[in-house]
């Protein structure tokens, strides 16, 4: 078995070797730090809320939603209609019209839900009352915690 002969004991070579080793150590150290930086940043969770898209906390307070009014909010990439009925009950429905996918709106004057595209009308339970929509709007579960509204897929 052959082994590499030991390096010559030359002081100049020795110094150079030491510097090469130091260079190696430095560059490797810097590289490893550059790997550690993203890992450490990754460990700190971001400020925005959890990714759950079966549940959403609304960006406005429950007290800010007056009776007989509604608002459109994005949820899971699609619009939903969050509204308060005349009697004060808080409800949420999918806002995607079941006819041709326009976004519906809450209609104060008649306390119902209306699609401006082809005059589709829904009641506050989401049922398709008149016009072309073939199916009702799907409901969502609404929970109130203090002044926070949390909407959840049924």
């Amino acid at each position: 078995m052959h082994v590499e002969p030991p390096p010559l004991a030359d002081p100049l070579l020795d110094t150079r070797r030491r510097w090469v080793t130091r260079l190696l150590g430095t560059t490797l150290g810097a590289t490893i730090l550059s790997f550690l930086y993203p890992v450490l940043r990754y460990l700190v969770p971001p400020v925005t809320s959890e990714p759950s898209l079966s549940e959403l906390e609304l960006p406005f307070k429950a007290s800010e939603l007056a009776p007989n009014s509604g608002r459109i909010v994005p949820f899971g990439g699609k619009p939903i209609l969050v509204f308060r009925t005349v009697s004060g009950e808080l409800k949420a429905l999918s806002a995607v019209c079941t006819h041709l996918n326009c976004t519906v709106q809450y209609r104060k004057e008649r306390s119902d839900i209306w699609c401006a595209c082809h005059n589709g009308v829904y009641n506050t339970d989401g049922g398709n009352v008149s016009g072309p929509p073939p199916r009702p709007l799907l409901p969502l579960e609404v929970n109130v915690r203090g002044d926070k509204i949390v909407v959840r897929k049924v």
């Binding site: 090469v20 550059s34 994005p74 006819h99 041709l100 976004t103 082809h118 005059n119």
Partner: protein, 424 residues
């Protein structure tokens, strides 16, 4: 003892049988002949095997909704369905009319279909005013005058294999109405005699309504009867066009009615919406309809440079500006998305701009520049924000690439140091 036991065994075996025999109900007679009425007409006509007389009988027996409800040939043709003898069956004293004439058919159908009390026994929600409606239609009026070609009940509904209108095979199921009307209205020679065009079906099939029905599968989309009526089929009067279109396009109709055009068109006898949008070949409208240019619809009444032309040109400009801004935002968001950036929320926010664009296009019918401008400005704000978000995402991408460059530099210098060490 053994004998007693045998008797006991025999009793034990016989007892259950006796119980069954005594408890069993008397054997049933044949089920009561309730549903199937006597229809000797069928027996005879089917066995004739004749090209004229057998097919109607076959069709009636196969799937006719009247046959299923228990009606016989005699309910329409008269005569006595219980008689085997032809003369007895075809007795005019029993109401036999044979094959009804063209003119007779509406009365034959209306005998039942205008009788509310009768129809209620079968389908209470069916209307009973078809005949009175039909009499108001062009078809009805000409039939009374003796026209032999014009449509009556059987022309559209069939005569013997009549299916309910909700059955997809019925000639008047929504997806089949246009073809059914076209059997006459597409016949050039026939239509020429009435001075009517025969290309209506072809035109309709190019329309957005036909696309909605046949490509998107929306059976609530308008077809011939939606605008012309079912039985009272007449083209809408020029003054009522906006009302008819407005049954679905309510927002547009309302805005149109508020606009200056509503009165002007009425005064000039112009057919409302049809003036700009056409009646059968209604295609996807664009902002190019605006103005007095080559694609504009305004030039037939307006002069280039007049007050209205200036306004519509401004509307066109606003809408085009919004549209191009939205497209630019889409492009940069798509580029960012393809470069690996997560921009689904920003894309969602852009849909608000698209809704503003739709609103602006709707407002055009009001013919007020201020309304259009308001919506366009709202949309522009959203589109600009989305574009900015797209730029931000691209900046993040560039940041990543710069970070990569730095780490690559470090890695490569480490590799170089290693190689140097290895050499050494």
């Amino acid at each position: 003892m053994r004998g007693f036991l045998r008797a006991l065994a025999g009793l034990a075996l016989a007892a259950p049988l006796a119980v069954i025999a005594l408890g069993a109900p008397a054997p049933r007679l044949a089920p009561p002949a309730a549903a199937a009425p006597v229809n000797q007409c069928m027996e005879c006509h089917l066995s004739l095997d004749d090209d004229t007389f057998t097919p109607p009988a076959k069709a009636f027996r196969k799937e006719d909704v009247h046959a299923k409800a228990g009606f016989t040939c005699a309910n329409c043709h008269g005569g006595d369905p219980t008689q085997e003898d032809m003369d007895a069956a075809h007795d005019p004293k029993k109401g036999f009319i044979g094959k009804p004439t063209h003119q007779q058919i509406p009365q034959v159908c209306a005998k039942c279909h205008s009788d509310a009390g009768l129809m209620k026994q079968f389908n209470p929600s069916l209307r009973v005013d078809e005949l009175s409606e039909y009499k108001t239609s062009k078809h009805g009026q000409m039939l009374v005058q003796g026209d032999q070609h014009v449509a009556e009940c059987a022309s559209c509904h069939g005569a013997h294999g009549i299916l309910p209108i909700k059955d997809t095979r019925s000639p008047v199921y929504p997806t089949r109405v246009a073809k059914t009307c076209n059997t006459c209205h597409g016949d050039t020679a026939l239509m020429a005699s009435y001075h009517l065009p025969s290309d209506v079906y072809a035109k309709y099939m190019t329309s957005v309504h036909a696309k909605a029905m046949y490509e998107k599968g929306d059976i609530s989309a308008p077809t011939c009867n939606s605008c012309h009526g079912n039985h009272g089929a007449t083209p809408p009067a020029v003054s009522s066009v906006a009302n008819v279109c407005g049954t679905c396009h309510s927002v547009f109709a309302e805005k149109f009615k508020q606009s200056a055009h509503s009165r002007a068109f009425a005064d000039m006898g112009l057919p409302g919406c049809v003036t700009c949008h056409g009646n059968h070949d209604i295609v996807q409208p664009t902002e190019e309809f605006l103005g007095t240019g080559p694609t504009g619809k305004c030039g037939s009444c307006h002069e280039k440079g007049d007050r209205c032309d200036v306004a519509t040109t401004a509307m066109h400009k606003d809408i085009v500006a919004l549209r191009t801004r939205i497209e630019a935002a889409h492009r940069i968001l798509d580029t960012a998305s393809e470069a690996g950036m997560e921009v689904s929320k920003q894309k969602f926010d852009l849909t608000n701009a698209e809704e503003a664009l739709t609103k602006a296009r709707t407002d055009v019918h009001e013919l007020q520049l201020a309304a259009v401008r308001k919506d366009a400005d709202e949309g522009l704000a959203v589109a600009r924000a989305a574009e900015a978000a797209g730029h931000k995402a691209m900046a993040e991408r560039d940041y990543r690439r710069r970070g990569l460059l730095l780490s690559l530099f470090l890695i490569l210098s480490a590799i170089a140091a290693l190689l140097y060490k290895i050499r050494g």
